[in-house]
Each structure stands twice: as C-alpha cells, then as structure tokens.
C-alpha cells in the first residue's frame, strides 16, 4: 500500500510539474515567477494538514494514552516542519522579484515563521524527554497549543494590513483565479497531499519499529 502511495505521489508530482510549467499560462503581470505558486501554496496547505493531524493525534493521545496517536502526531509534525520550511523558502524566493525583498516582518510571514519555530520546538521537546509516556503527554500539550497558530497564519492577511496577498482559494466567495491556473494548482495540491500521505505512512512505520 505504501509503495503504491509512493508511485502515485511520484506520478502526481510529474503531472504537477507538467501542469505548472506546460499547461498553465504565463501570468500577465508577474510573468514566469508566478509559477512558484504551484510549489508555495500546496506546501502551506500540506503543512496545515500535517499540523491538523498533530492536533488530532495529540487530543486522541491525551484521551486514550494509546501510543499510535502519539506516533501519528510526532510523524505529522516532522513532515509539517519540512513543508513549512519549503513554504517559507519558496515564498522568500518569490518575494525578491515581486516585492523587492527576501523577507519582511509582514503578519503572514511572521506568523508562518512562528508556526515553524513552534513545531521545531515540539520536535526538540520530544528529543529531550526519555520516558515515552511523559514525552507523549508533554508533546501533546504543545501539539494542541501550537495548533492555535494555524488559523492565525491563515487569517493574518485579513486581520492585519499585510504585504502578502489575501487568500485566493480558501477565501470567502468564489475564487478570482484563472481556470487554467486553478487547475494546475489543484493538480499540485493533490500531488503534495499524496506525497504527504506517503511520507506519513513511512514515518509512522519507522516510529513503530523504533519502539519495538
């Protein structure tokens, strides 16, 4: 099953690159640099999914104390950190030619950086505690508190004056995005979700082997 998921993810990523570079048109104002969106947006949506699973696993672990939930939370957090880092780096590279700067302390950028630091802290905390039960309990509390930042990241562009553009696909009302660009984004989003599922399945299996 995991192997099939891996192949589906690989095919999805190939389709995503073809859609982003071949099918989607050159954006009228930004030009080709807008194609970074097919990497940047699916990455942050995957990170939201990962940290949502950390929240789920953390609540379920505190309620049941079953180690499987802790393994889910820890594995999802690690992969979420990876995708958040990709989001920040790709956004920074996109920002230079469009905003004229690699970084600015804009509400969206700052809250995303805090999101990354919170979950890096979550992983560091896990490394510091030897007792599995205590580790799971402490990490679950951080996993639940850390999830408070997810809506802050998403709605920061609405709540504060920001340089970052508002949401175009998860915002209120119909999306103003061009259908071809929207389709390329959707293909990449699916590909990233498949890749996340593949990484998660493998990481959980490794966590299970480490405990035996």
């Amino acid at each position: 099953m995991t192997r099939v998921l891996g192949w589906l993810a690989a095919l999805g990523l190939l389709a995503g690159v073809a859609a982003g570079f071949g099918y989607a048109p050159r954006e009228a104002i930004q030009g080709n640099v807008q194609r970074i969106m097919y990497l940047h947006v699916p990455s942050v949506l995957t990170a939201y999914l990962a940290f949502g699973l950390v929240l789920l696993g953390s609540i379920a672990y505190l309620a049941t104390r079953r180690p499987g939930w802790d393994r889910l939370a820890a594995s999802a957090a690690e992969i979420g950190v990876l995708f958040t880092a990709i989001t920040i780096v790709s956004g920074s590279i996109w920002g230079k030619p469009t905003w004229g700067t690699w970084w600015t302390w804009d509400a969206r950028l700052t809250s995303t950086a805090i999101l990354l630091l919170v979950y890096v802290g979550y992983l560091m905390l896990r490394g510091l505690v030897d007792d599995a039960e205590a580790r799971g309990r402490y990490a679950a509390v951080v996993g639940i508190l850390g999830a408070v930042n997810i809506p802050i990241v998403h709605f920061s562009v609405k709540w504060w004056r920001a340089l970052h553009q508002p949401s175009t696909i998860l915002g209120p009302g119909p999306s103003p995005i061009d259908p071809a660009i929207g389709l390329a984004l959707l293909v990449n989003w699916i590909a990233f979700t498949l890749l996340f599922a593949y990484f998660l399945a493998r990481r959980i299996e490794i966590a299970r082997l480490e405990e035996t």
């Binding site: 690159v17 104002i29 930004q30 030009g31 080709n32 640099v33 194609r35 970074i36 990497l39 940047h40 990455s43 992969i79 990876l82 880092a85 990709i86 780096v89 790709s90 590279i93 996109w94 230079k96 030619p97 890749l195 990484f199 493998r202 990481r203 299996e205 490794i206 082997l209 480490e210 035996t212």
Partner: protein, 51 residues
C-alpha cells in the same frame, strides 16, 4: 516583468533537494531498523570471548 527563471529554478530546485533528502533519510532509517530486527542473533548480542 523579466522572465525571472532563475528564481523559479531556485525555488523548485531547493524544494526538490529537501523532499528528495527527506525521502532518502526515511529510506535509510527504515533499512537500518529492518536490518537490526532481521539480523542474526549473533549480530545483536555482545561478543563473548570463549572461556
């Protein structure tokens, strides 16, 4: 707006390196754990010198 292909390549290149690197890390870790579990007992137990 200039083509800015270098920025696009940099973003996708770095992401590819990160994702491929993580995939390799998972594969190596899984192989190491499987080898440890599947290895003969003599590989896992400390070497005993004959008395």
């Amino acid at each position: 707006m200039p083509a800015n292909w270098s920025y696009v390549l940099a973003a996708y290149g770095l992401a590819a390196v990160a994702l491929f690197g993580y995939w390799r890390h998972l594969a190596r870790r899984a192989r190491a754990l499987s080898a440890r579990r599947g290895a003969p007992v003599s590989y896992r137990t400390p070497h005993r010198t004959p008395s």
